[in-house]
Structure formats: structure tokens, C-alpha cells
Amino acid sequence: MDLLGIMLAVLGAALAAGLAGSGSAIGIGVAGESGAGVMTEDPGKFGLVLLLQALPGTQGIYGLLIAFFAILKVGLLGGGGALEVSVWQGLGVFFACLPIAIAGYFSGIAQGKTSAACIQMIAKRPEETGKAVILPAMVETYAVFALLMSIILLNGIQI
């Protein structure tokens, strides 16, 4: 059995979960720092702050999703046993994982910064929470597109 093919797919899965997760972690971290600052003044805003802090968390979930898809694709999950995967197919799965890995990492960070700024905004204007939720979601759009591309690419690879 050609192990290199499977291992390339595993590398793709690892990058998708790892990079997108890191992006989310950094983003949530940045937003959390800002939230802690706001809550020193007004602990009652915990609910709103938590909501905004959670927004950059989706990239990590998308990354995890693609990672699962990738290893499902090569049969490492689900009990059927690993499939026969050629190097080219493995490389294909690896490439298919890249959109969410890259966009997940960077958009997670960018969304975290936006969330942090929006947390500052609701500190002064709690009535504008709706708008504060939309701004970070604008950043997330591109993670959603990357997720879509990764899904479509994975779907297109025949194994």
C-alpha cells in the first residue's frame, strides 16, 4: 500500500485543524483581552462580551470539519479501514485542505481584532449590539468561502 498518499491527506487534515484552530485561538484571545477590560468596568456585560468573543471561534470549527472530511475521505475514520490512496490523490486532498487552513488562520485573527473593537463599542453603546455582531461577521464571510471551496474540492477528488 502506498502510505505516502494517505499521509499527505493526513498532513492536509492536520494543517486545516491546526492552522484554522490557531487563528481562532488568537482571535478569541484578542477579543477576550478586550472583553476583560470592559468587564472590569461593568461585569454585567458578560453575556454580550461572551457572544462577541465567541464569533472568531467558527474558523476552528470549520478547520476541524475539513480535517474530519479529509480523513474520512481516505478511510481513516469510520471503521472501514484505510483506502488505497495514490500519491496524486493524497496531494489532491492536501491541496483541498489549504483554503480553510490559510483563510481560517488569517481571518480568525482579523475577526478577533474586529470583535475586540466591537466589544469596546458595546462598552459605550450596549444598545448597538446588533451592529457589533454584524461587523465581525463581515470578516467571517471569507472563512465561509474558504470552507465552501475546501468542501467542493474534497468532493471533487475521486478515491
Binding site: L51, A54, L55, G57, T58, I61, Y62, L65, F68, F69, L77, G78, G79, G130, K131, V133, I134, A137, M138, E140, T141, V144, F145, L147, L148, I151, I152, N155
Partner: protein
């Protein structure tokens, strides 16, 4: 439907009844009083009542702040948050206000609070003393020597670095001899500093102090209050602590009793006083003359009858003139929609209400939001959870504030949409029915309504998503066209919106027939429409430029905007992505739970925990995502075509209360 029609009322009220008139207007809850314009020559209305109410309100706030921690509210905080409040009538409130002496209650409470603060500070002081005394247990002399000193003898007490101790003792011995006596608290092994004291005759003070400071002693002052021997002092402090604790307990009991008596009263009164205060603010907006007051108010059509009714009582003393808002005035916006569209108003409010006279986008976005949310969440099981959760609260708390009710109903609707989409795509908690053998009997039921499985055929689903995008964007352009026609701006109507409509439809027909999706007969139609649209745009888009060349150039360049429309349509691909993500996350949770059952003995426990916890997490994350992204499609892709918001909410003079409901409407307070 849409934005309610608003009238401007001018009320001329005789001074003698103005109080009652304003009270009845407040009761209708349908008048927004227009603030007086600055510097129009009328005299300032200032009565002492506003200050009086403010001082009452601040007393009430103090009493509530102090007593609320002691108060056992019969209504749970959750119920309160959902709008459960006791009801009272204005008459009850008014008599309550007359019989309650807020000032004396608040004075009593202030006394209690002050005494509590004193007790707490004394207690903390005593615990400091006790800690110090515990170090000095081996001291035989009265503390008086250290705190005051006597005629002949004095003492100093403090900490000395452990490695200096011997040196210090030797020096004391050598220099002062029998004139001084040193005292060292036993030193622990790890201590770096030792507690030590020195007693000396007053005559040798200078030398004694010099030795101490040379050896690095840092002085600790013994409080003047401590004079006796250590064990006596310890006993005295203990007794004092006990009595202070007793007193604190007594005060707390008193405060709890007071809380049970006064918190409901002052909650009601603080509401009553604030609604009186809002009446006083009305007077500040009125124009006063010797005989009459002039008030101006915005009143929506629906409230006119009630307002006239309530005023009929003062018929002979009031005069009402109704007029339509002038073009240069900016009346507030009140959205009125049918029950089906009502929950979606909260989305329009989030963006900003429409200007008076503009189109209310709520009924226009409602069906799109409904479908989009359904597609983004796209799972029947999660839809049931969402619907059930929010429906439970809506049914349980009938008195929920209107804004909150709108929001909750919105999620009830959205959950329903998700159930429909879930049924059509065969997604119930992902692939749960297929994944667990004990649910297999449901398979025929699940498979029956399936139209399309996005997992197997994502491209078709993508096509559907983009098609919805095209529909919504074209619809948005049509609304914009209608809006411009209504305003009589024909160039904008046919040039901007119409031009784009024709151009885009032409391009789509062209693309469709070239790629073979549509019959070739559309080819010519598409070409004609595309070219016509492009020509309209080229001729109209540069109309604000001066020279002919500039006009032509900006006309041609405007065609590049077609990329923006392309981007808008592609943005709708998120409907597929989020829908797939929901199903896939659910599928993975099911798979992990299935794998966990393989673990011996405790496998099924882990599986159940994974399954429940995982799906709960997933539904929370995905509902948030579905909401935010469906909303974004409305705000960014749809609203940008025709809607700009910019209105202000209708904020009538009404019973805006925090703690109570004003129920029976009793006039003439």
C-alpha cells in the same frame, strides 16, 4: 402596513387642566411630545416639582440599593427579566406616594448603613490587633509601655532581620546593660524577620533608639488603645468582637424586615415618580402663556381616536388642531406589520428604522430571511430544538416586553424554517437516523420528503443558493425602482435601477443560452436586453459630469459595477456552506458517539454524553452562525440596493416602568 402614518397635533390647553390633560395623554401611550425649539421667546417653565421628584427618586434609589440585597423577591430574577411584574393602578400608586414618608425611611436606612460600616471597620481593626497580640503572647509587661510609655520606662517594638538579632542583643547588653531589657518573639525556621521589642529607661532613649535603627529595626506602632497585659487585652477584644457581631446580626435582621416592607413599596414608587417626572418633562417642551399651554405631539393614525376620546372630557378647555407633517419636519417612525411579519421588525430595528414616509423593508426581507435561516441551519432536529426552546419562553412569559417577544418569535419562525429545509434535505441531527441502528425504522419516514441531499449533490444546492441571490438582488432593484418612481425621480428610476435591471437580466439570459442551460431562442433576447441596458447605463450614469467626454467616460466605466453584482450573488454561496457545515458537524458528532460505543463497559455512557453535549454545542454555534449570516445577506446585499435607514423610533409619552405594571387606567391623579 409598513410605516404608520403620523399626524401632528397642536394642543392648546387651559392652564387649569394642563396636568390632567398630560396625564391622560400619557395614559394613551400614543403621543410623542415634540421638544420646543430653542429661543422662541416663550418663558421657561420651571416648577419646583421636577427637583422634588428628582430628590424623591434619588432617595428611592438609595433605599433600593441598600435594601435589595436583603430582599427575597417572590418573583424570580429570570421571570423578572422576562417581564413578570406586579400590577398596580395609578390611583393606588398615588395614595401610596402620599402615605409614604420617603425621607424618614431613607434617614433610618442611612443610620443602619452607617452603623454597619462602622461595625465592619471596627471589626477589621480588631482583627488586626488580634493578629499583633498573637505575636506578643510571651510578653509579660503591660502594653502601656509600648503604646504610651510611663514616666520612667518606655518601649519600642518592631521587626529586625534575623541575622542581626544576636548583634542587636549584644549591643543592647553592652551599651545599656541593666537600663534596658530586650524581648524577642520566638522565631520560626523560615522567618527572615523577627519580632522584637526593647524596654528602656527614658533617660537612655536616644542610645536605645540608635542601636535599634543601626540594626535595621523597622518600628511597629502599638495602638494607644492597647494598654493592659496581653491576655487581658485578648479577652477584652474577644468580648468586643462578640458584641459587635451580635449588633451586626441585629441590624441585618432589621434590614431584612425593612426590606420585606419597603422594597416593593419603593420599587413601585420609583416607577411612579419616574412616570410623573416624564410628565414634568412634557411641560418643559410646552409653551406657556398666561392662560394656555401649547403642546405639540406626533400621533400615529391608530392612536388618534383614543387621544381624542381621552381629551373629550376637557372639551371646553382644550383646542386640538390636527395637521400633516411638513416636508422639512422629521416625524418619528412607527412600524406596523401583520402578525406574520411583526417578528422580523426587530431585524429592521437593528439596522435602523426607516425614515418617515420611506418604504418599510420588514415585509420585503421577511420571506428571504425565513428561507435563508432555514438553509443556513438546514437541520430538522436543530430546528425542533430552536423552535421548542424559544416557544417555551414565549408561552411561559406572556408579559414579555415587546422587543424581546419579537426576537423570540423570530427564532420560533426560524426554527420552523429549519425544520422544513431539514425535511426536504433529509437532515435530522445530521445523519442520526442512518447512523444509529435503533432509529432505522424511521428511515422510510425520513426519506419520503427528501428532494435533494446537499451532501451528495452540493453543486445543485449551490445553484439554488445563487438563484436565491439573483432573485433577491433583482427584487431589491425593483423595490428601488418603485421607490424612485414614487418620489417622482424618473431619471434615477429608469436610468439607474431600470438600466441595471435590463442589463443584468440580459446578461443572465445571454449566459444561460450560451452555456446551453436555456433554449437558444433566448440568445437574441438576451443580446438585445444586454445591449439596451448597457446603452441606458452609458447614457445616464455620467449625467452629473460636465463635459461630454467625462459623461461618456463615467458612463462606460459604470459598467464595471457589474463585478459588484457578481460578488453580491456569489456571497449567497454561504447558504450552501453553512448548511453543509451544520449537517457535517452533526454527522461527525454522531460518528464519534458511534465509535464511543465500542469502548468496553462505559462506552455507552460516553456515547450519550458526546451525543447530547455535542449536539447542544452544535445547535448553539450553528443558530448563531445562521442568524448572523442570513442577517448579513439582508443588510449588505439586499439593503444596499434600496434602503438606508436613518429614521428615529417613535417614543411616546407612556408608562415606561421597570418594576411594576400600571394596570387599571384611573384618571385625574
Amino acid at each position: 402596513m409598513g410605516v404608520a402614518k403620523i399626524n401632528k397635533l397642536e394642543l392648546y390647553v387651559h392652564n387649569s387642566v394642563v396636568d390632567s390633560v398630560v396625564a391622560s395623554l400619557q395614559e394613551t401611550g400614543g403621543c410623542e411630545i415634540i421638544s420646543r425649539e430653542e429661543d422662541n421667546g416663550s418663558e421657561d417653565y420651571s416648577s419646583g416639582r421636577l427637583q422634588e421628584l428628582d430628590s424623591f427618586l434619588s432617595e428611592a434609589r438609595f433605599i433600593l440599593r441598600f435594601l435589595e440585597p436583603y430582599y427575597q423577591d417572590p418573583i424570580s430574577p429570570v421571570s423578572r427579566a422576562f417581564g413578570e411584574k406586579p400590577s398596580m393602578s395609578i390611583k393606588d400608586l398615588s395614595s401610596l406616594s402620599k402615605t409614604t414618608d420617603a425621607i424618614s425611611v431613607s434617614e433610618d436606612m442611612r443610620k443602619l448603613e452607617r452603623r454597619l460600616v462602622e461595625i465592619r471597620s471596627e471589626l477589621s481593626q480588631i482583627s488586626g490587633f488580634q493578629e499583633m497580640l498573637s505575636k506578643l503572647q510571651t510578653l509579660e509587661y503591660p502594653l502601656e509601655f509600648l503604646s504610651h510609655g510611663t514616666e520612667k520606662t518606655k518601649g519600642i517594638f518592631g521587626t529586625i532581620p534575623v541575622n542581626q538579632l544576636d548583634n542587636w542583643q549584644n549591643e543592647v547588653q553592652d551599651t545599656l546593660g541593666a537600663d534596658a531589657e530586650s524581648f524577642i518573639v520566638p522565631v520560626g525556621e523560615k522567618d527572615k524577620e523577627a519580632w522584637a521589642g526593647l524596654f528602656y529607661f527614658v533617660g537612655t532613649e536616644a542610645r536605645a533608639l540608635e542601636i535599634c535603627s543601626r540594626n535595621g529595626m523597622s518600628r511597629i506602632d502599638i495602638p494607644a488603645e492597647l494598654t493592659g497585659k496581653v491576655p487581658d487585652e485578648v479577652a477584652r477584644l474577644k468580648k468586643k468582637t462578640v458584641s459587635l457581631h451580635k449588633e451586626e446580626k441585629r441590624i441585618n435582621i432589621n434590614a431584612s424586615k425593612a426590606a420585606a416592607d419597603w422594597v416593593p413599596v419603593f420599587r413601585a414608587l420609583s416607577d411612579y415618580w419616574s412616570l410623573l417626572r416624564s410628565r414634568e418633562e412634557v411641560f418643559e417642551s410646552g409653551e406657556f402663556t398666561d392662560q394656555v399651554v401649547v403642546l405639540r405631539a406626533w400621533v400615529p393614525d391608530d392612536y388618534l381616536d383614543t387621544v381624542y376620546n381621552n381629551l373629550s372630557e376637557y372639551d371646553s378647555l382644550t383646542e386640538v388642531i390636527k395637521s400633516q407633517p411638513m416636508p422639512d419636519e422629521e416625524p418619528p417612525t412607527l412600524m406596523q406589520n401583520s402578525n406574520w411579519v411583526f417578528p422580523f421588525e426587530s431585524l429592521t430595528k437593528l439596522y435602523g428604522p426607516p425614515k418617515y414616509g420611506d418604504i418599510d423593508p420588514t415585509p420585503l426581507l421577511a420571506p428571504f430571511f425565513f428561507i435563508f435561516f432555514g438553509m443556513c441551519l438546514g437541520d430538522g432536529g436543530y430546528g425542533i430544538l430552536t423552535l421548542g426552546f424559544f416557544l417555551y419562553f414565549v408561552r411561559k412569559y406572556k408579559k414579555m416586553p415587546s422587543g424581546m417577544k419579537q426576537f423570540f418569535l423570530l427564532f420560533v419562525f426560524s426554527g420552523f424554517a429549519s425544520i422544513i429545509v431539514g425535511a426536504l434535505t433529509g437532515s435530522w441531527f445530521g445523519n442520526m437516523i442512518d447512523a444509529f441502528p435503533f432509529l432505522h425504522y424511521l428511515q422510510p419516514l425520513k426519506n419520503m420528503p427528501i428532494v435533494l441531499d446537499p451532501m451528495n449533490d452540493p453543486m445543485t444546492f449551490l445553484g439554488i443558493s445563487l438563484a436565491f441571490g439573483v432573485v433577491q438582488i433583482v427584487f431589491g432593484l425593483c423595490v428601488a425602482l418603485y421607490g424612485s418612481l414614487r418620489d417622482g425621480d424618473y431619471i434615477a428610476a429608469f436610468g439607474d435601477h431600470g438600466g441595471w435591471l435590463v442589463f443584468l437580466v440580459g446578461l443572465m439570459l445571454l449566459g444561460g443560452s450560451v452555456s446551453g442551460k436555456l433554449s437558444p431562442s433566448f440568445l437574441t433576447v438576451g443580446k438585445v436586453l444586454g445591449i439596451t441596458g448597457a446603452l441606458i447605463l452609458i447614457f445616464t450614469q455620467g449625467r452629473e459630469k460636465e463635459s461630454l467626454v467625462q459623461k461618456a467616460l463615467s458612463g462606460v466605466l459604470s459598467l464595471y459595477n457589474v463585478t459588484a453584482y457578481l460578488g453580491d450573488v456569489l456571497s449567497y454561496s454561504r447558504l450552501l456552506a453553512l448548511g453543509l457545515a451544520t449537517s457535517a458537524i452533526a454527522m461527525i458528532i454522531n460518528m464519534l458517539s458511534g465509535l464511543a460505543t465500542g469502548i468496553p463497559y462505559i462506552g455507552w455512557v460516553i456515547a450519550i454524553v458526546l451525543c447530547f453535549g455535542g449536539h447542544l454545542f452544535s445547535v448553539a454555534v450553528n443558530v448563531l452562525g445562521a442568524f448572523v449570516h442570513s442577517l448579513r445577506l439582508q443588510y449588505v446585499e439586499f439593503f444596499s440596493k434600496f434602503y438606508s435607514g436613518g429614521g428615529k423610533h417613535f417614543e411616546p409619552l407612556a408608562y415606561n416602568t421597570r418594576f411594576i405594571d400600571v394596570s387599571e387606567n384611573v384618571k385625574n391623579v
